[in-house]
């Protein structure tokens, strides 16, 4: 087992140096959406509060660090932290409002959608955020302190570390009291309350963590592409891309989102090449996969494997 992990880490470190830049880019995008999916998973998978508007946190993070850099020359690393804190505050706002009024399931999902759309419309019309034009981040070349580099390898390692961080947070949650509490309130909120879980507080905790991490992802995006606008940050399409990975891979599991990312990423790239042309056609494949997963593998790919393993374990107990 240890050997497996060791070789995975070794491969992960060596890969960007041996692959051509295009493939490094594909890998970065896979890790990136795996990171975002992992962040979403804490609220959507573990706490069971399905968010349809995570683009809100993403956009807040992206715009905060971008604006701080462009207007006040504040390093995007610092901007990233501020973006994360603002993401947390947004989570606090949305969460307090929604959870206090007991919004659950599709109602909560649609409410988060409304919030992200409102933010999109605001950023579309605000001078500060550049309206429809968005924000262009000035090229600084090889300047790691300004979160920029000419080589993609830099970005690869940044997102890899972020992903590892998010996975670590998820693992800590998964194995302990917070994970049990979140899963309990996800499964049955009343029963959870009856056994002493402060469901409001824990839902809030989930949205705070999730919002913070997602906002950090927004900054990464801004620094990688050096351009952001309301549609690509706050848009519904972004929210969908974010929760698609955990659903396909397996909500409420540690590795589900990243597995989903490794399935959807290459598929997306392939179809982009084959079907070519218009923006978003790869979503057709994603849509089909989503339909397939919901019907045949509702627990996601990883979730399915976990249940298979459990079944085998039980059968071994019965038939020694």
């Amino acid at each position: 087992m240890l050997f497996l992990w060791f070789s995975v880490i070794l491969i992960a470190i060596l890969l960007p140096f041996v692959l051509p830049p295009y493939f490094v880019h594909v890998l970065i995008m896979i890790l990136f959406y795996g990171y975002l999916g992992t962040s979403w998973n804490i609220l959507g998978g573990y706490a069971g509060q399905f968010s349809f508007g995570h683009a809100a946190f993403f956009g807040i993070g992206a715009y905060t660090s971008a604006l701080a850099f462009v207007n006040w020359q504040i390093s995007p690393w610092i901007g990233m932290v501020f973006g994360g804190l603002l993401g947390m505050l947004l989570g606090l706002f949305i969460g307090s409002l929604c959870f206090h009024y007991g919004l659950r399931g599709p109602y909560f999902a649609l409410a988060t959608l409304a919030f992200s759309e409102l933010l999109r419309l605001i950023s579309l019309n605000l001078e500060l955020t550049g309206k429809a034009i968005g924000i262009l981040i000035p090229l600084k070349g090889n300047d790691p302190l300004s979160f920029q580099h000419e080589s993609k390898i830099f970005y690869y390692f940044v997102i890899l570390l972020m992903l590892i961080g998010a996975l670590w947070v998820t693992r800590r949650i998964d194995g302990g009291k917070i994970g049990d509490y979140l899963s309990a309130l996800r499964e049955d909120e009343d029963s959870a309350e009856a056994i002493g879980v402060n469901t409001f507080a824990y839902k809030l905790l989930a949205i705070l963590i999730s919002g913070f991490l997602t906002a950090l992802g927004g900054t990464f995006y801004a620094q990688y592409f050096l351009y952001i606008d309301p549609a690509v940050t706050f848009g519904v399409g972004n929210s969908i891309e974010i929760f698609l990975r955990p659903i396909v891979g397996g909500m409420g599991t540690v590795y589900g989102p990243i597995i989903g990312a490794f399935v959807l990423g290459p598929l997306g790239e392939l179809t982009r090449g084959m079907l070519g042309g218009y923006q978003g056609v790869h979503l057709m494949i994603y849509g089909a996969i989503l339909v397939g997963v919901i019907i045949f593998l509702p627990k996601g790919i990883y979730g399915y494997f976990i249940s298979l393993r459990k079944r085998d374990k039980d059968e071994k107990l019965c038939h020694p």
């Binding site: 399905f50 409002l97 929604c98 009024y101 919004l103 399931g105 599709p106 109602y107 999902a109 649609l110 409410a111 959608l113 409304a114 919030f115 759309e117 409102l118 419309l121 605001i122 579309l124 019309n125 519904v236 969908i240 659903i247 079907l275 042309g277 218009y278 923006q279 978003g280 056609v281 790869h282 979503l283 057709m284 994603y286 849509g287 089909a288 996969i289 989503l290 339909v291 919901i294 019907i295 509702p298």
Partner: protein
Amino acid sequence: MDTNILVQAIISGLLMGGVYALVAVSLNLIFGVMKIINFAHGVFMMLGMYFTYWVSVFLGIHPYLSLLISMSALFVIGFLIQYGLINRIIEAPEHNQLLLTLGIALFLENLALFLWSPNFRMVKVTTLAGAMHAGDLMFSTPRVIAFGAALCMTVFLYLFLMKTSCGKAIRAISQDREGAHVIGIHRKIIYSVAFGIGAACVAAAGTMITPFFYITPTVGMVFVITAFVIVVLGGLGSFWGAFFGALIVGIAESLGEVLLSGSLKQVPIYSIFILTLLLRPKGLFGKKHV
């Protein structure tokens, strides 16, 4: 602010609200019967618009004449989707159904994108075009016709649900799944019919707005979100709630367009939405708290 402009905006909003009403009422039908939040509703409307476009272009006829074709086509599509896909997960948790319809919407919308490109298309009409005048106010004729047609369809739908045996079967099943099942109503067929009807109605709305609305694959998304706002505002499961909610939202949007800058016209809609969810989640006319 010139009162004329305000009155014009309100009536414009009302006209569009009628169209929204048909969209919302059909979405509500699907929710009321199957408890499914149909994200593909906007895509059905978009497909209705494209059917109308192609029929109108190839047969050289007025888009209104393609109404039956677009409705029938979408009835079949809706029926098949419910029968073949959604019926399989009828017992699954709510958010799975939402995701399924979202997946279908994603697939269909981007299929349309692939087949027909994002280029905006327009249907050109020469008859029943132009504008009507009432004093200082002016209304585009196609919008008035769309309003009238949507209203008629809404009333037909209501009568269908209330008076026909098929409609009654649909209502029976929505009120008591198990009971209806027991007395032999074939649940899956009824669901598929209801879904097909919902799709056909929203396709009709699509057909009626082609004379004044750009046709593009992504047009559905905005409509479906607006429809959700309306249905929540009116109360999930309430037919007339959806109807009146649509008129309110139509007017709010129109006023937003006039009073705020153009692209902010949706802000009042989302604000209404959030306020409704927080303060009166069962909506204005809603029955049970979901």
